[in-house]
Every structure is written in C-alpha cells, then in structure tokens.
C-alpha cells in the first residue's frame, strides 16, 4: 500500500499556491516552508557553496545548519527550512554568499 504524509495525518490543506524558484513555478501548500515545498516538488538542492560551487539543500531541517540558504524576494541568506513559502514569492538558488545576486 502506498501512502503519503498528507494521507497519514488526514490533512485537508487549503488551496495550493505557487511561488517561483529560479524562474520556474513551484506549488506549495499553506503553511509549508520553502524547503518543504521544494522537497515536495522533488528538488533537493538550492544553494551552491562559496568555494567549490557544490549543490546543497536542507540538512538539519530546524534552522541550525544554514545549508538551506536561499535568496528570497531579493534577500540572501534566508533559511528555507524556517521561512514560509508565500504566494507569488520569488526564490532563487543562492550562489555563494548570495550578495552578487542582489547588486
């Protein structure tokens, strides 16, 4: 039997909405963090490291590790595991410190 987390807790979320991630629309459910919505869309990485440009995504899931940083609505260094996805929000893969992306 295949089951999913929403069915397990009998979730009846409000209507899904979209935000943009690197220019592509990503669906999210009300209350989900940016990281949760990205996981749900099959995306595991949304940051490239400062020195070697390696991909990273959510790791600790609770705001401690800072591996999940994104540029959200023009602000770099936002922890995707803590920040809520918002309708019409603009999220971008953070390259390095992210500051080059806001100049």
């Amino acid at each position: 039997m295949s089951r999913d987390p929403l069915a397990l807790v009998r979730a009846h979320p409000g209507p899904a909405f979209e935000f943009s991630f690197d220019g592509e629309p990503v669906p999210a459910l009300p209350g989900q963090s940016i990281a949760a919505a990205l996981w749900a869309s099959g995306r595991l990485s949304w940051r490239r490291t400062r020195h070697t440009g390696r991909p990273r995504g959510a790791f600790c899931g609770i705001g401690v590790c800072f591996d999940c940083l994104v540029v959200s609505d023009g602000q770099p260094n936002v922890r995707a595991c803590l920040a809520r996805a918002v309708p019409g929000g603009t999220v971008a893969t953070q390259e390095g410190t992210g500051y080059a992306q806001i100049q």
């Binding site: 295949s2 089951r3 999913d4 987390p5 929403l6 069915a7 397990l8 807790v9 009998r10 979730a11 009846h12 979320p13 409000g14 459910l29 009300p30 209350g31 989900q32 963090s33 990281a35 949760a36 919505a37 996981w39 749900a40 595991l44 990485s45 490291t49 400062r50 020195h51 070697t52 390696r54 991909p55 990273r56 995504g57 959510a58 790791f59 600790c60 899931g61 609770i62 705001g63 401690v64 590790c65 800072f66 591996d67 940083l69 959200s72 609505d73 602000q75 260094n77 936002v78 922890r79 595991c81 803590l82 920040a83 809520r84 918002v86």
Partner: protein, 487 residues
C-alpha cells in the same frame, strides 16, 4: 490549539520567562501559571511543541497529527492548558521569536528576541522584543550530532532529525527510498515514521548494538515504559519491513549532484569499519544522525556550569530542583541531558515548583507528595538516559570512514585532510586551535554541525562552545539595543 502570538513588545515584565516551547517549556509554563506566576513563553517556532511535538503547519489542516507522534494526548492537554492560561492573561506567548541573548541577573533578567520565521525580522518577519522577568527557565532542547563521511554533503543526505522535523511540520519526505543511519534511539522513531508516511526504508543502520542494553537489567526493570516503547518501535519496523543492521555504519554516500546509493559496512566495537564488509545499497535519500547535543548557547553565555554526559556531550549541571549554577536561572529538558520527552515534562514541572518557591508563592496542598514522586521518576529516567548515552557513545574508529578530501566543516568546506594536518603536523590539540588554523567552525552554523567531529579528531569530547549570540542578529538590532542602553 494556540497559534496566535502576542504582538512584538518591549518592556513586558513577568515573574518567569520560559525559553523554548517544547515538552519541558510547556510543562514549566503551565505549572508556573497554575501556581500563580505571570509568565512569558518565548519560542522560535510558530506553533508550540519543540522538535518532539513539532506540529503540522496550521494551513495543512491535519485531522490526525497524532499519527506522526507518541504521547500526543499529553501534548494536547498541555496546549489546552496553555490556551486557557493565555486567555486568562497569565501567560504571554511569543511564538516565532528567536531569543538571541539573555542579560541581567537574579531578579532582573532581560530576554532579547527577534521575530519572524527566519529570525531576521525581515520581510514578513516580526519585530524585536525584550521581555523582563524575575526568573528564567532555559528549555532550549537539542540539535543533532553529525559525524562526517565521504559524500555527506550531497543533496539528499539529510539529518535524521531533520527528515523527521520536515515530515512533522511540512508533511514532506526527502525521497521515496530512504536509508536511515547513525546511532541512537531517535533512528527507530525516524525510520518508523518515514515508512509510515510512505517512504520505503530498506535498512536502518545502527553503529551500536541494542543487545548491549540487556547488560543492565536493573535499569531496564526500573523503566518498563521504555521497554514497551522499544518493543512498539521494533514491531512498527517489522510491519514496514525495515531491516535493522546493528554494529554497522554508512561509511560513504555516492552520487554526483544527489545521493544515489550508500555503502554500508560492519563496524567493530570502536565503530571502525571491518575491511571487506562494505555493501552498496541504492537509495534516493539518507537520513543520518549520531545522537543529539544539548543546545546551550544562552546558558553558557550566562556562565552556567556543564558536565560531560556518558556519550561525551556537555549538559548543564542542575540540582534536584533544576537550578543551574547561576542564581535565578533554571534549566529543564534536553539542555540538562538527553533523556526524552517524558523526562523533559517532569523536569519542567519540577523547575516551575522551584521557581514559584523562590518567588515566595505559597506551596499548594499535597504538592510535596507529587514532587517526591516526580523526583523519583526523574531519577529512574535519568538512569536510563545515561545507559542510552553510554551505549551510543561515538566510537573512536569513526574517523576511519574519512578520506582526506571529505569535508568536515560544511560551511567553510574544510576537509578532513586539513583538520588532520592541523592536529598531527601543526600540533592543534583542541577544537579551538583547529578552528584558528583551518576555519572549521567559522561559517554560518558556527561549528554546530562540525564541532563534534573536529573536537573528536583533536582528541576531545563534544565541545561546550560559547557564542556571544545564539542566532544571527541584524546589525541594526544590535545598534538600536546599544542606543537604548546609553539612554
């Protein structure tokens, strides 16, 4: 269920501020309010519960959140009490507030918090708040301990607790085929809930050995509840066909831009991989963790004394009434040692009674008997916690998993080779010196992810790292705070 928060406020004065709304904090704030104290509850999350009782976001409208939880009824009772106290004005709840510093001293504490989901107070975020209180209870919980291995920075390798947190709050999974690995009883819960939520968990890889618990029949006998819990976890894993491989470890994750497989090897008593036993297991995610570390930033900054737990992690020293070594500051829950939610609930209640007595509130009739009973349960549960910590203490052989190019510090991308050079050739004998020589621990997470590994590679235990601020703070907030002080 309570979910709204007080508006950001400065200058709120209460008897007690409780930092952290997990099991310990909830038990403490409800008990203290019952005893007539005015309280403030500060917590970084939008909803109370901490990591253990992390709730699905309100908008997800989960009709059966308890399907992802143990002991939900206890939690529901606490949230109902909190709501009643809040409605009556006995508790002011500051959800979504990251406490970055506590200052002051006995009788006159100031807790400084930042609003907003990300604690930045930025767009969509709340404002800064300062709450003044006569007493402080630190119930800040724990985060996961990680020991690096080749490939652990690949997307799809996630903390075991992280996977659990994302599942509980966001109802999402990192993959469909998830290996769970590391050490400690949390892995049983994580594997069980991932499987229940629809992931296939081909194997749970545990570096220690559950048979080792049997060598302490006395401790087990005094904690029958833990045996029942363990049996229920085992039954759930069996039901979902999760193979459990003890005395084994994931010693590498493979893939280019995301994890595609892991190597599972047998390990000896010291967690040293047994040559020739490596076996590749396909997966699209790995949930990994090697136990939990108390989150001590605020307490250490205030000068609280710590002790080493049997697994080498530092925890606050508290007396029989949960008083820390700093007068006017109490601690409860995982910051005093990793013992689980039941112990945290007991410690929170005991701390609240002690605080009420210190603030000269009358002791309710019959409280003595309850406190004695709670004290006895606390001792039994601590005995079990010590056994757990001892059984799952990281073995020194884990370092044999590393290759020279394995990144130890995820933020600064410092390799095992660089750390080894600092220790063996440049003479670094502790985590701090390695940090100065290599930058390991100087990045965004401030050593929270790599500190344990670096300290162990330098021959020590998990460090009790002191940090002047417990989370990132915009410069403007610090500047404004400074201006206030000068007035």
């Amino acid at each position: 269920m309570p979910r709204s928060s007080e508006p950001a406020a400065t200058g709120v004065v209460v008897d007690l501020v409780v930092i952290g709304a997990g099991p310990a904090g909830l038990a403490a704030v409800n008990t203290a309010a019952d005893l007539g104290l005015s309280c403030a509850l500060l917590d970084a999350a939008a909803l109370p519960g901490g990591q253990f009782y992390r709730q699905p976001a309100t908008g997800l409208r989960a009709a059966r959140p308890q399907a992802l939880h143990h002991g939900w009824r206890v939690f529901a009772a606490h949230t109902a009490r909190l709501e009643a106290h809040r409605a009556a004005g006995r508790v002011r709840q500051f959800a979504g507030h990251h406490v970055w510093s506590v200052s002051g001293g006995v009788g006159a504490w100031e807790s400084h918090a930042l609003g907003g989901a990300d604690g930045t107070g930025g767009p969509g975020g709340g404002q800064a708040a300062t709450v003044r209180a006569r007493a402080v209870l630190c119930a800040t919980g724990a985060h996961e301990r990680q020991l690096p291995f080749p490939g652990w920075t690949l997307p799809g390798v996630v903390g075991a607790g992280g996977a659990q947190a994302m599942l509980k709050a966001g109802l999402v999974l990192p993959g469909r085929w998830v290996v769970v690995a590391g050490s400690g009883p949390l892995l049983l819960a994580v594997a069980g809930s991932l499987a229940e939520a629809g992931a296939r968990v081909p194997v749970l890889v545990e570096a220690a050995d559950y048979a080792g618990y049997a060598r302490r029949p006395g401790t087990l006998g005094r904690n029958p509840g833990k045996l029942v819990e363990g049996a229920a976890q085992a039954a759930r894993l069996l039901r979902h066909r999760v193979a459990v491989r003890t005395r084994s470890a994931v010693i590498a994750a493979h893939g280019t831009d995301r994890v595609e497989a892991v190597t599972v090897a047998r390990v000896d008593r010291d967690w040293r991989p047994v040559p020739g036993t490596g076996r590749r297991v396909a997966c699209d995610a790995l949930a990994v963790g090697h136990g939990l570390l108390p989150q001590l930033e605020l307490a250490l900054e205030l000068g609280c004394a710590v002790r080493a737990l049997p697994d080498g992690s530092p925890a606050l020293i508290v007396d029989a009434e949960q008083r820390t070594s700093v007068e006017g500051l109490w601690a409860a829950g995982e910051s005093t040692g990793l013992g689980g939610a039941e112990l945290a609930l007991i410690e929170g209640e005991l701390a609240a009674h002690s605080i009420a007595a210190a603030l000269r509130r009358p002791v309710p009739v019959g409280a003595d008997g309850r406190l004695r009973a709670l004290g006895r349960r606390r001792e039994r549960l601590r005995e079990f916690a010590d056994l757990m910590a001892e059984r799952h203490r990281p073995g020194v052989g884990w370092a044999d998993w590393l290759s020279p190019d394995t990144e130890i510090c995820r933020c600064e991308e410092v390799t095992a080779g660089a750390v080894k050079e600092a220790v063996e050739e440049l003479g670094a004998g502790d985590q701090r010196t390695v940090k100065l020589l290599t930058r390991a621990g100087m990045g965004w997470c401030q050593g929270r992810m790599c500190g344990s590994a670096v300290a162990r590679l330098a021959g020590g235990n998990d460090p009790a790292g002191t940090r002047p601020l417990s989370c990132p703070v915009p410069m403007g907030v610090l500047a404004a705070d400074d201006a206030t002080d000068e007035q």
